[in-house]
Symmetry: D2
Subunit: 316 residues, 4 copies
């Protein structure tokens, strides 16, 4: 279950960061869609934006195995893989029996009893590359319907040398018609929240006015109907404000969908680190290589990808 | 899909606020569990805590139809219903063709083309009563494993007369062992977020340090291993801080699970209200009866219920 | 999972044969459908056709709790229940610790550790009443699209007094357009097979030529295109024979869907019966009351109901 | 949905017969299992048993991309692919706009509007290679629990030259403990039926006595408890006969699971063939190359694979 996203537009992913390959299968994409390879390449490149330095440069060339024939989708599963570059994983040997603080090393060991300790394995942020592929395909589908996605970093923490920073990304979805979503447990905002909170290092999510709404009065918060009311061209209503973020009762109201995701700083920092071993002893470990101080610029495209897959899943 | 919560411990709900009954089916509860009716009654009563006045007093007596025999669960579906009291729904006649601002009237009409306009229908907060039943059964199951839930209102907006207020509820889960949850798309925090954001009027969710983590440095944020390290009795590690809220890589680390949910004020307020009709004209409507100024005290048990069902779903 | 049928048109059922009630929730029925109560009553009556005698006469009056308003469906869950008549279940006291041969008593005990021993509990054929309700709603939906279901008993075993008989039911679905179904694991014939084999006492399933096809040559079996080929009015092809039963590659070809289900005789017969106790000892038990010699006439409507729900699930 | 088999032990497959590759992702296999590559190779070889001649020799070398580390499973998804050999698909050019009788050409065109016409695309029996990979992994898992699978051809039609034959395969599962399966819609026999009927050219399925049970009396059919009753070593009951095929009320009773699957002859035969074009005209087409007269010997391992995955899905 946990390696599959979506119900109708589904992405199943696989791969450890230092295994042979990562990849996935997109199932549910309609037949006949023009497959835009350029968009896919461009989206993959956005995942490297702002990279100061990584010891490992990811080429991230995507091989498509199925589901596309003569430039169009067949309606059958679209499988893809991204080879991991062969790297010297001996760097990780010393971590074989150590749990780093702030990582999933300890929790994976408790969950599975066994783990691929090299570079985070399945918990590595490298898995987000497969989300970007799924998102690119979702965007190919949705732009034909006039639905667009725009995320940007609206707050970025200041990190000193040898440290890291988090921040906040805001995403706006335009062109989504009213009436998309579901009641009760399948609310559009609930599925968006799950999609966003599944991104590595996400720690908060809010729609529209968000946490600030907790201090507003009802008379301030509620979005009044715009006096020009129904847009004549689309018979679609608009509101004067958008405090609800475009969703009411779990269903889109035709206004832009607006949400924000808070990310904590990455926890691998260039400082001596106290790691735990299975017997409960602490050991000092010094990370090697250089690490991004802030991963948010790279994460913008991941936020858009998850938003696009969420919308595709609701619309199909 | 949208009327069912969970994959292994599943709650399927039904019912319009002014129909014959609301109710649900809990599927996946193990056999042999002592069914604690007193707990169920007590939890249902908590949904009425702090009610200043509602025109409609909900008796909320729960009838159990199946799945329990001689005081124990059978492992088969537990079905229940809660009769709606017969009420004069003519109050709602004038809303038949009006969309209130800040409600799901318009979005349901766009989604289904048809709706039960009486009192919000399926979008009414009345459906949360069925969540409390599911949550009570989940609690019966989890307290045997030493897992407890405690939610409280930590911020409440100030509302003037004829207005409403929102606020923030914080929930702490204790006793959850390390190793519960899933990687990638099935992260424990992602499923918690979806559960919470599905509650009517929820507008924000955060784990541990939450949005504040966006301004922390990595060296501040990461939870260092406690120097006494593994608790000898449980061989379970602890950390000095709990900024991550008890979850790493989507899997519990044995520390308390801590999260907060922001709720916007309810949008039915005792003031003249501009409603939209299907032709795009505005009409002034005056709500009748008295309404709670703040629904947060009633919502505490709903937050706990969703948390309990989420944990039950991951643990079974 | 096992108490829910379908993915898009879903029926979740509950109830033990001697509990308070049996019932279910239909989720996924579109909004705006005229709810034909007369059809529902008529279908429920068909489940009593041919009953020679049962100690317990089932009134089977169906209460609808939700999802229908002013004679039309709302697109929200349709919940229903059927009260069990209060009966003296002391008849079953002697079976509390006995496993009858040919029943699910032993397997339920192994599966759950606990069971409601009265009258088969959840394994009783009484649960098929809830399938008939779901099937009736599916039929309301599908007849608007011109899709009809006709099942009949084509073979019935001869049973002597104090014994029982099985038989074969054949079902034909007409009006299903070409192109319905899915490839690979979601084949229309595969989901039909699962639907039919889930009916109590079903023991075989075949499409079209069925087991006889195992002895045909390819040149005999394959359905040649009808020389008049595409029907001009519908642009739909027809074939000279229908050995495949209307499905190719898991997808309907526009010909009638034809399948057969074999049922074994019921295993409660009016003869002294050797039952097993949990310690491995045999005890002689004499069933009371009179029992149907053959349940097939009652099962015809159940076969149609499962077929209708399967088609509704594929078409929505 | 239709490209994924299983709920807990899941196989998602992809690939057209003449695309780049076919393959799949196994999700849900527990961590720590020894991955037996030799078993995988041996099972893949069984899919070529009895091949008289195929124009295309499939090497079927399986590449594993993830989920296995140092010879053991990680509990994460196991992804694999099987390259399609580059072949001259111009043979198929003349079929671009023709629908062969007895194939899925027409139904895929109706379903998707677009198709990969080369060699059957996704509907080709080539996809069964991915089932064998999934089945091999399921067998690795289940043999540790003493559960074994044995299928064999028990009836094979006689085919003349330039024609084809079908037949019947019987499969026996030993070592499955009592108590596996589910009630109502999730019956073990129902899921087995769906698994088997999803195999290309399957046209009938029966458990135990099967269709013959339709002519038995209840007193003949019901499996009496063996007089030595509970096997002392396992506290497991046995029966004198096994007419039910090892499943009662959808749950295993500890006796061997026995079922049969009927397969129709393949419909590509070495004879002039009348194909339909989209305008309703017939064209004579002569298949090239040599074709197997009977595919049953190759299908034995596919039946076992589907049985193994079905059991793994119920047991996990």
């Amino acid at each position: 279950m946990s390696n599959t996203f979506g119900t109708h537009f589904k992405l199943t992913t696989y791969g450890e960061s230092h295994g042979t390959a990562i990849g996935g299968v997109v199932d549910g994409c309609p037949a006949g869609l023009v497959f835009d390879s350029d968009l896919l390449v461009a989206e993959m490149a956005r995942r490297h934006v702002g990279t100061e330095a990584t010891a490992r440069i990811e080429a991230d060339s995507v091989d498509i195995f199925s589901g596309v024939y003569q430039g169009r989708t067949l309606g059958t599963p679209i499988a893809f893989s991204i080879r991991n570059q062969e790297s010297d994983s001996s760097d990780y040997d010393e971590l074989r029996d150590l749990y780093r603080p702030g990582h999933a090393d300890y929790t994976y060991a408790m969950r599975y009893g066994i783990r691929d300790h090299r570079g985070g394995g399945r918990a590595s942020a490298r898995e987000t590359a497969t989300r970007v592929v799924g998102g690119a395909i979702a965007k190919m589908l949705l732009r034909e319907k006039g639905i667009t996605f725009n995320a940007e970093v609206i707050k970025q923490g200041v990190a000193e040398d040898h440290d890291s920073a988090g921040g906040i990304i805001e995403c706006t979805i335009k062109g989504l018609p009213a009436g998309i979503g579901n009641p009760v447990f399948g609310k559009l905002n609930a599925t968006l929240a799950a999609a966003m909170m599944s991104i590595p290092s996400a720690i908060g999510f809010e729609m529209g006015a968000g946490f600030a709404a907790a201090e507003m009065k009802g008379s301030e918060f509620r979005d009044e109907w715009h006096c020009s009311s129904l847009r004549p061209e689309a018979r679609q209503a608009t509101t004067e404000t958008n405090h609800c973020g475009g969703i009411q009762g779990g269903i889109s109201n035709g206004m832009p969908i607006v949400f924000r995701v808070a990310f904590h700083p990455v926890t691998t920092i260039d400082q001596p680190t106290q790691c735990l071993d299975p017997d409960g002893n602490l050991h000092t470990w010094q990370p090697r290589g250089r690490h991004d101080r802030c991963h948010l610029p790279r994460t913008v495209v991941v936020v858009e990808a998850m938003a696009a897959m969420t919308m595709a899943d609701h619309i199909i």
